[in-house]
């Protein structure tokens, strides 16, 4: 295992890492490779880094293009840039048939267009990789930042790399990998397998690039970082930027003796709770598990929780809570159950609980999350449900606590799962294995189990 600089204070360690990254990006020494890669575990300040790198590059007289993967990510990034770097002129390049939401328009320094020609003169132009692929530019940018680069597919990078000379690739290698629905076996093992991650391909062709790492998670509390690091980043450990006493979750309303309240209290105290329903094989939208998730969220709101952290004190409102599921129909069922329970879920109508799948929760952050375990009630595990990134995303969105709702029997399900994965020669093994990571997380959760009868 790599050495962790435990002596250094987390802030100092993170600052040193950021300084190295910025130096390599903005003032690359002669002969330096054309790419800089930054591996960022959950909540390690990736977005802050992107904003700082953009400011410094522009400050050094460069124009810059930024590639993100989804419209949501682009809008988030544009909003953050506009707010934190008001001196920058920002172009938001969008597809002809998808104009960004109104919140992007409220910034004076942001210009919208579906034609890159309207935006070229701006300091920074931001768009999705899908849109960048269609851009024909005569004068390419010198610098690019590729955000969420591990979610980007190699073929997308192939289509956009002509637009820049140098690039900073930032992403979380532990999240969900890109995928395709068609067969790609014939390219397995090739360095430029078009279905693999953009970063993997780029590194294979530029072996002199040593990825940087952000060593501190500012999001994950001290109760979560060690588990997430061990289970999902076994060879690139990180730690929490806060200590065990820096985050506190307190309830105004005393527990009513129910399992739900016991789980909430457990999570408030330990950062984790496993609310376990009796073992039963169910369909994906297990009505009882869905009801348990909805009831937990409602109790979280009813009990008037306060989240205290290094950033101050704030009530736990609906918009600080997220529910994570594996499938869209599960999210829809939870949303319907929350509506029935009178919990707001429509973001457009005010503060509301976010209910979404792991894919869509990537890159997001909340105070408390309630997770419907991907393996809950399943008679069998599949590669989809065991995918390492899925559990990693679901278990690493919270600043204070994570409550996992699941049917009993997941341990047995994992034990009975066939381990007959094919192995492709020449394809680097990614760690960890979803099966092993699931075991590790479950072992930990079992210590915080509350049974729901």
């Amino acid at each position: 295992m790599a050495e962790m600089s435990t002596e250094q204070a987390p802030g100092a360690a993170a600052d040193a890492a950021v300084a190295r990254i910025l130096a390599a990006t903005v003032h690359p020494p002669a002969g330096a490779p054309r790419g800089v890669v930054v591996d960022s575990p959950p909540g390690a300040g990736k977005s802050t880094l992107v904003v700082r790198a953009a400011r410094e590059l522009v400050g050094a007289g460069e124009r810059l293009m930024i590639v993100a993967q989804t419209n949501g990510q682009v809008d988030d990034l544009v909003g953050r840039l506009a707010e934190k770097a008001p001196e920058l002129t920002i172009g938001r390049l969008h597809a002809a048939d998808s104009r960004p939401g109104p919140e992007v328009l409220k910034h004076a320094n942001v210009t919208l267009s579906d034609k890159v020609a309207d935006l070229v003169e701006h300091d920074v132009v931001v768009s999705t990789s899908a849109k960048w692929q269609w851009v024909r530019a005569e004068a390419p940018w010198r610098h690019a930042i590729v955000d969420e680069a591990y979610q980007m597919r190699s073929d997308a990078l192939l289509a956009v790399a002509r637009l820049f000379e140098r690039a900073l690739f930032v992403g979380d290698p532990g999240q969900l990998d890109p995928f395709t629905v068609v067969g790609t076996e014939q390219w397995a093992g090739l360095s430029y397998d078009p279905s693999s991650s953009a970063v993997v391909t780029m590194l294979a062709h530029n072996p002199q690039i040593e990825p940087h790492r952000l060593p501190v998670s500012w999001r994950l509390p001290a109760s979560a970082a060690p588990l997430i690091s061990r289970a999902f980043y076994p060879y690139t450990p990180f730690r929490s930027g806060t200590g065990p006493d820096d985050r506190r979750l307190t309830a105004a309303v005393r527990p009513d003796g129910s399992a739900l309240d016991a789980a909430i209290d457990r999570a408030a105290e330990h950062g984790w709770a496993l609310l376990e329903l009796p073992a039963r094989h169910t369909v994906r939208t297990d009505p009882q598990a869905v009801a348990a998730v909805a009831a937990t969220v409602r109790r979280l709101l009813e009990r008037g929780l306060t989240a205290r952290s290094e950033q101050g004190e704030a009530p736990l409102t609906a918009d600080r809570i997220a529910v994570g599921t594996a499938h869209r129909d599960q999210a829809a069922a939870v949303r319907a159950a929350l509506l029935t329970a009178g919990v707001p879920v429509d973001q457009a109508a005010g503060p509301a609980v976010t209910v979404d799948t792991a894919n869509r929760l990537q890159g997001r952050e909340y105070d408390v999350t309630v997770v419907l375990h991907p393996l809950s009630g399943r008679p069998d595990a599949t590669a989809f449900h065991l995918e390492t990134g899925r559990l990693c995303v679901l278990a690493s969105r919270h600043r204070h606590a994570c409550i996992v709702v699941a049917r009993a029997g997941i341990g047995e399900l994992l034990d009975e799962h066939p381990s007959t994965e094919p192995v492709q020669l020449g394809v680097p093994v990614t760690f960890p294995d979803g099966w092993e990571a699931n075991h590790q997380v479950l072992d930990h959760l079992t210590e915080h189990r509350i049974r729901l009868r």
Binding site: Q133, D155, L158, V181, M202
Partner: protein, 537 residues
């Protein structure tokens, strides 16, 4: 596996017979398909043992390698196969139609009218199963780089002249078979699996005879019993009553039938060589007869293990022809014809054989093509077949219902008002119809009008079982919708939540412009020299 497919399988368990998974045939079938049943020699990658092929079910032709380890005999086999198969593949090259198109002049930028040749029809190979496709791919890989006596440097083991050409065709066909919905090379198990469900698993369905047993079980047997008999029943000599569909042979056939027959062939050829060396003409003559007998015996045993599968493939074709062709088959077959024509042209232009591995740009292009074709196939199958659409409805990605109300409404934000009527329908389907989500109305060509009509979800009432959509397009340019462009109360309509047209793929650089992230242009990186005479013992 979708629940709808599972349900069909459950029904098949109960009925003991295959149950339909499609109401139409979703793959093009040629009037003159070439059925190819290959066998491989065990223990060696892609080593051919025999092949039975032909376009006439009553006249199969057999080619075999009497001693699979012998390089010369293997080349003889490949030359025979090339002589048999290439005329079929090339027979579609002459009959062409002229397709009009336009081309941009690279200097003036002006568009000029051009005509391109498109072959009027294309060949179609049918093999028993997916392993058969992979075997043909291996044959293509092992032969397309071979040098022949016609090359400047033929190397120590020149192959017969047409063998590399056969390899290039097989490579093209097997590559094309990776593109969803194409029909130049198809496996019978894959064809049957698309159209019928059996009461067994996908894994067991890979066994062609066992699969077919569900279609016509002998009297008194269920599909499961008939399938098990096809899988495992043996005669008193321990040989399977129904040999596997290959390309791998049954180990007990190898041990007790094939190995002794090959040993007799070896002995006869050894005696012949001895006779020739000793200049013993009488002994040589006897040995020649023995060699002929040994080859004849091999022909007999290989014919015996190939014929059942040969008949199975033709039986499968009969079953498939009972289904009416799907509406979009001709369109997809045109794509196959272009693919065939393109390969014909590359051969004619003297281009080198397909490389062992795709370069970065070619790989990305192929992936984009496959994804595009998969999307097109999904849409077309749904439009062609109510059972396929039912799968999308069950998944919440489409819904059908009877129109109860059409309320005129207008978008008045622009200079002139545009029609934005509200259509309400009653449905038992439960789609993932979030408010504001885009929906697409399915319109058959018979109904006329624009193919795509967009709408968005305006209201959902799950309790009442109604969904209201605001129609957004396909109503003409006037204030009032064109007559006939909207459904009327009482009409049965279907909407999908997925687009009904397939998006173009984004442009990719030319291989010579491969960026630094992907290793630069292919020529720039050191490429291992292609081996002239790969060892093949």
């Amino acid at each position: 596996m979708s629940l709808l497919t599972t349900l069909a399988r459950l029904e098949a368990v109960r009925s003991g017979r295959a149950e339909p998974l499609a109401t139409v045939r979703h793959r093009h079938l040629s009037d003159r398909p070439m059925v190819v049943v290959p066998l491989t020699a065990a223990g060696e990658a892609g080593a051919p043992l025999a092949v039975m092929l032909g376009t006439d079910r009553d006249a199969p032709r057999l080619h075999l390698v009497p001693q699979p380890l012998n390089r010369t005999l293997r080349f003889d086999f490949l030359a025979e196969l090339a002589a048999d198969l290439l005329p079929y593949l090339e027979s579609f090259a002459e009959d062409v139609e002229q397709i009009e198109g336009s081309e941009k002049d690279p200097e003036t930028g002006e568009k000029t009218q051009v005509f391109r040749e498109l072959c009027a029809d294309a060949p179609q190979l049918i093999v028993p199963n997916g392993a058969g496709v992979r075997h043909l791919a291996l044959l293509g890989r092992s032969t397309r780089f071979r040098r022949t006596v016609e090359d400047d440097e033929p190397g120590p083991y020149p192959a017969p002249v047409r063998v590399p050409l056969l390899g290039r065709w097989l490579t093209h066909l097997t590559d094309r078979a990776q593109v969803p919905g194409t029909s130049l090379l198809l496996s019978m198990t894959g064809l049957l699996a698309r159209h019928w469900a059996t009461g067994q698993s996908h894994l067991e369905d890979q066994h062609l005879a066992a699969r077919l047993a569900w279609h016509a079980p002998p009297r008194g047997l269920t599909g499961a019993e008939a399938a098990e008999r096809a899988e495992s029943a043996r005669d008193d000599r321990g040989q399977l009553l129904h040999p596997p569909a290959g390309p791998a042979t049954d180990p007990r056939f190898d041990e007790f039938v094939l190995a002794p027959a090959i040993a007799r062939y070896d002995a006869a050829t050894a005696a012949l060589q001895h006779g020739v060396e000793q200049r013993d003409e009488a002994a040589a003559e006897r040995a020649r007869a023995a060699v002929r007998t040994a080859v004849e015996e091999l022909r007999e045993v290989l014919t015996a293990v190939l014929l059942p599968t040969w008949r199975d493939v033709w039986h499968g074709l009969d079953l498939l022809r009972t289904l009416p062709p799907a509406g979009h088959l001709a369109e997809r077959w045109t794509g196959d014809r272009w693919s065939y024509t393109g390969h014909r042209d590359r051969l004619a232009a003297g281009e080198p054989p397909q490389p062992r591995q795709d370069d970065a740009v070619t790989a990305a292009r192929k992936l984009a093509q496959r994804e595009r074709e998969q999307a097109r196939l999904d849409v077309q199958e749904a439009l062609d077949d109510p059972l396929a659409m039912a799968g999308h409805r069950l998944a919440g990605e489409a819904f059908s219902g009877v129109v109860t109300e059409v309320v005129p409404d207008y978008d008045t934000t622009g200079r002139s008002p545009k029609p934005r009527p509200l259509v309400t329908l009653r449905t038992a389907d439960r789609p993932h119809a979030d408010l504001g989500r885009e929906a697409h109305r399915v319109r058959s060509e018979a109904e006329g009008g624009p193919a795509a009509q967009k709408a968005e979800i305006a209201a959902v009432d799950p309790a009442g079982g109604t969904i209201t959509l605001r129609m957004l397009s396909g109503m003409g340019r006037k204030k009032e919708p064109e007559p006939g462009s909207l459904p009327e109360p009482g009409d049965l309509v279907t909407f999908t939540l997925f687009e009904l047209t397939v998006r173009q793929s984004a442009p990719l650089p030319e291989p010579d412009d491969t960026p630094w992230t992907h290793g630069g242009p292919p020529g720039a990186a050191p490429v291992p020299a292609p081996s002239v005479s790969e060892e093949w013992e």
